[in-house]
């Protein structure tokens, strides 16, 4: 369970995230939507203890993220796939994560197979990775400790159509086995296909939230809703 309650972040008096509240339940996928700069990433960073909130709270699994002794064993996080040392190989990145979290080293090979990075790719330096490969590597780090929850910031960004289809299957399967998924994305069609719940924010405020099925009732697409609520052109 993820509980975001009246979460607010102000920079120099300006609210980037403004009184945001929502809940993510086990067994569901929550699509977290909003235009660029609407406060999605800041919200997710506050949830993961990387940014201190100005007001309100963000908790998961009944407490704060930073109070989890070894978070990777319970929560898989991918906030920015490009935030990796370009000089390390993909295998080294994953090895460091297993050493840190105490996950057995044999998981490294399993994870590379699971996220679809072959052996030559694992040996390459991350500098030579495409964004799609970095996303797969980041997802491998997130899945490392066999978590019960995934928090992903635009994980489909840079993936090719095959990769997007693979991601859809992976996330849907994760939730169907009882996991909790919170993901932000700009791929509205994808979100519409896999998310049980939608939270749409604009200028830091929640402008729409509810079950996906209810929101797109009457033949309306998620894109129509997104553009209507965020003042874009349709």
């Amino acid at each position: 369970m993820i509980e975001i309650t009246h979460l607010t972040k102000k920079y120099a008096g300006h609210a980037v995230v403004d009184d945001v509240s929502f809940t993510c339940r086990p067994g569901t996928v929550t699509g977290f939507l909003g235009p660029n700069g609407s406060g999605k990433s800041t919200t997710l960073r506050m949830l993961c203890g990387l940014t201190p909130p100005t007001a309100g709270s963000a908790t998961l699994l009944g407490g704060r993220y930073r109070d989890l002794p070894n978070p990777a064993r319970r929560v898989g996080v991918l906030l920015d796939a490009s935030a990796q040392h370009g000089g390390r190989t993909g295998r080294e990145v994953l090895t460091l994560a297993t050493l840190t979290t105490g996950v057995p080293r044999r998981r490294v090979a399993e994870l590379f197979a699971q996220v679809g990075l072959d052996d030559p790719a694992a040996r390459k330096r991350v500098r030579a990775y495409s964004l799609g490969m970095r996303q797969r590597l980041g997802l491998a780090v997130a899945l490392l400790g066999e978590p019960e929850m995934l928090i992903l910031d635009e994980p489909a960004n840079g993936l090719d159509p095959e990769g997007i289809a693979w991601m859809r299957t992976l996330l849907r399967g994760f939730a169907d086995r009882g996991g909790t998924v919170l993901l932000s994305s700009h791929l509205l069609g994808e979100v519409q296909a896999i998310a049980d719940q939608i939270v749409l924010i604009h200028n830091g405020r929640v402008v729409e939230q509810g079950n996906t099925a209810d929101l797109i009732a009457g033949g309306r697409s998620l894109e129509d809703l997104f553009l209507a609520r965020t003042g874009g052109q349709s």
């Binding site: 960073r45 990387l50 070894n70 978070p71 906030l79 040392h85 080294e92 050493l99 840190t100």
Partner: protein
């Protein structure tokens, strides 16, 4: 579901020192420079320089210059390469990561002493020099190298910016020299505050109580204080 132990986090930090090409090259450069300087001394130095102690002390110099850079990069590369995002997501108790970096840097300082011993041994064997040496130099050298590398870690944690931290660290001795030469009253202060001066006493025979006091004060100002301020900065700074 226990938290990663300090030992485990230290192993990770030591691994980060060597798992990139830039890290490995820095270590190789330190070793090569130490060997090169000792060779130069053998070739161009007087016969009095052909002792184990002389070779050992020359090998210490390039290590003392570059080990702090290693300490700086151990911290700042997390921010310049943005790996802090993953590091602190996996270990949200950031002070534990900072502590592991301090321990890893300390171990690197200790490990530099055997490197100097090996270089000096080879030089002494090659030149047929004398094996004169004060054993206490081993401990004092380890201490001096640890002070230097931790100063680097402290500067790195305060500034969180690789080029800035390296420049500040490198120009500091020059600033002391210039200030000490131009302002008379600062010359006495330098004796207590310039780590270049206070650690030098470790390599000369007979550390006095006054020498230790001066060393302690300079370390408090340039190592303990930056580490403490840096710890606050690292644990509270927003990671994006």
């Amino acid at each position: 579901m226990t938290a990663p132990s300090l030992a485990r986090l230290t192993v990770v930090e030591l691994r980060k020192l060597v798992d990139t090409r830039s890290g490995r090259w820095l270590l190789i450069t330190i070793g090569v420079l130490a060997a090169a300087l000792v060779t130069l001394q053998l070739v161009f130095g007087g016969s009095g320089d052909r002792t184990f102690a002389a070779a050992f002390l020359v090998s210490v110099l390039p290590i003392a210059l570059l080990l702090p850079v290693l300490g700086i990069l151990l911290v700042t590369s997390e921010w310049s390469q943005r790996t802090a995002l993953t590091t602190f997501t996996l270990v949200p108790r950031r002070h534990r990561v900072a502590l592991a970096k301090v321990v890893a840097a300390t171990l690197a300082g200790v490990a530099s002493v055997p490197v100097s011993v090996v270089v000096a041994t080879v030089a002494t064997l090659a030149s047929g020099g004398e094996w004169t040496f004060r054993a206490e130099l081993l401990w004092y050298t380890a201490l001096a190298q640890i002070i230097g590398v931790l100063m680097g870690v402290g500067f790195g944690m305060v500034l969180l910016n690789s080029p800035l931290a390296i420049v500040v660290y490198l120009i500091l001795p020059t600033v002391w020299t210039i200030l000490g030469a131009t302002i008379r009253s600062l010359r006495e202060a330098a004796a207590w505050l310039d780590t270049g001066v206070t650690t030098m006493a470790l390599f000369e025979p007979g550390m006095t109580g006054g020498d230790w006091a001066k060393l302690g004060v300079s370390v408090a100002v340039w190592v303990a204080l930056p580490l403490a301020a840096g710890l606050v900065r690292v644990t509270t700074r927003e990671v994006a």
